[in-house]
Amino acid sequence: MTDWLVMVVVTTTSVGLALTLGIYGTVVLDRVIGRSIAGEPLRLTRALVGPFQHAALLLLQQRSDTERSDSATWAVAPALLGALAAAALAVVPLTPAVALEVSSGIVYFGATMAMVMVAVFLNGWSANSTFPLIGGYRFVAQALSFEMPLVLVLIAAALPAESLNVADIVRSQDTLWNVVRQPLGLPLYLIAALGVSFLGPLGLPDGIDLAGGTVAELSGTALLLWRAAQAAVLVAVSAMGAAVFLGGWLGPWLPGSVWMALKTLLLIALMVVAKHLFGRVRLERFVVVSWVVLIPVALVHVFLSGILALRRIGS
């Protein structure tokens, strides 16, 4: 019983801490990278304090309501998205000591990422307004297309570890990181990760061509929560990517948690750069590319990884 309690407390604190720092880091990185791409002076202090000021402003704003909105599901949507991010992060081993050993960790992660679709669709649907609804539709189309590559790539990474437990996958990269062992894995994963955190090229559900899409009718606290939850999802997928492809806590000199944080931030930074440099793709083209190229490539990737893993085990 006490073991169980300790585990819950440790996991909740570490996930909470990681998410808070991660969301803050994401916002700061977003501003810094955005300004350097725009060629503007960086103003680092402003970048560091800015998120708090912005959040305070939104907290003081009233929530708006639309005519005949589905207020219950509207309130649930950001909470669900944030909870999913936290739940996904819980199975990612942040340090060797704090690792929730779930024997089907990868499947669990895939399940939470599939649920993101529910949260985004609900957020778009509940406003009872056209642009958010179209945003919701768009995310469903987009999510059904990237979900398969996401899960397939993660399963391929599990093959050399002979385990679906994420901590085992990290341990299996002791000699060689998966980013080298499976060169196709990380690029495919990053595309899917951009999709699941609806960012940049795949930020279709809240594009400016829909005046903000799923967030068009949000204001105040609701908007703040939704943006925070979106950043939390980004943190969770980046942390998973760091654990599965970049060797998680493995690394010399520094403590494991620092390595993990650095690698996660690296992936977040990569995706934020993609957000600022690659404009939104056309949904139609993405869906076609996803089903015709990404999924077959992911299948081949699983097949090759399987052969390699078998040969390694055999020898």
């Binding site: 005949r68 589905d70 024997s103 089907s104 499947v107 529910v118 059904l144 679906l164």
Partner: protein, 194 residues
């Protein structure tokens, strides 16, 4: 602890299953069903069928959203803003539901099952994997082929026969467009040629 969680989850699953048919909004109905399923998935995890529960969750997230989108597509009143009842043979259906509950419940309560067998151990997932790709490979393969056949079959049924082009080509059927040209002609082309 497990017991408390079990009671909570079974409560949620049954209550939300009941809500599915008691809400006006179709989207809510689909997601109540999802909540019910999610609770069942948690119970399965509690029973240490971890993999099964998680696969169920993975599957139903997409499934229920598709269901919700279908509802929005086909129903005239998906948000339930014009409440109306859409049921038939209501009493008979209630009777059938209660009867099947009583019958199956009786089997559960009065049936005799081999008891005293221990819970499954921690490496369930690994053992299931070995089973799937070893002795029971035929079952696994059959399920896979069935799903493949379903995919092809579903596409064949659902897609429009004799489609006239790619999905992104035009939203107007050729026939419609022709008749239009024969009549008045879209003003844009008329202007352009003039």
């Amino acid at each position: 602890m497990t017991d408390v969680l079990f009671w909570i989850m079974s409560g949620i699953s049954v209550l939300s299953a009941w809500r599915v048919f008691r809400t006006d909004s179709m989207v809510r109905a689909a997601y109540w069903l999802m909540v019910s399923f999610a609770a069942v998935a948690v119970i399965l995890v509690l029973l240490s069928a971890e993999f099964l529960g998680l696969v169920l969750l993975l599957m139903l997230a997409g499934e229920m959203t598709i269901m919700a989108v279908f509802m929005v597509m086909f129903m005239m009143n998906p948000a339930g803003l014009n409440p109306m009842t859409m049921v038939h043979q209501h009493r008979a259906a209630i009777a059938a539901g209660v009867l099947s509950f009583l019958g199956l419940g009786a089997v559960g309560v009065f049936g005799r099952f081999p008891a005293g067998v221990s819970f499954a151990t921690r490496d369930v997932t690994a053992r299931l994997g070995m089973e799937l790709l070893n002795d029971s490979m035929l079952i696994f393969q059959t399920a896979g082929v069935t799903l493949l056949a379903t995919m092809i079959g579903a596409l064949a049924i659902a897609s429009r026969r004799g489609r006239y082009g790619l999905a992104d080509e035009d939203s107007i059927e050729p026939a419609v467009e022709n008749s239009q040209n024969a009549g008045e002609g879209p003003p844009s082309t008329e202007k352009g040629s003039a």
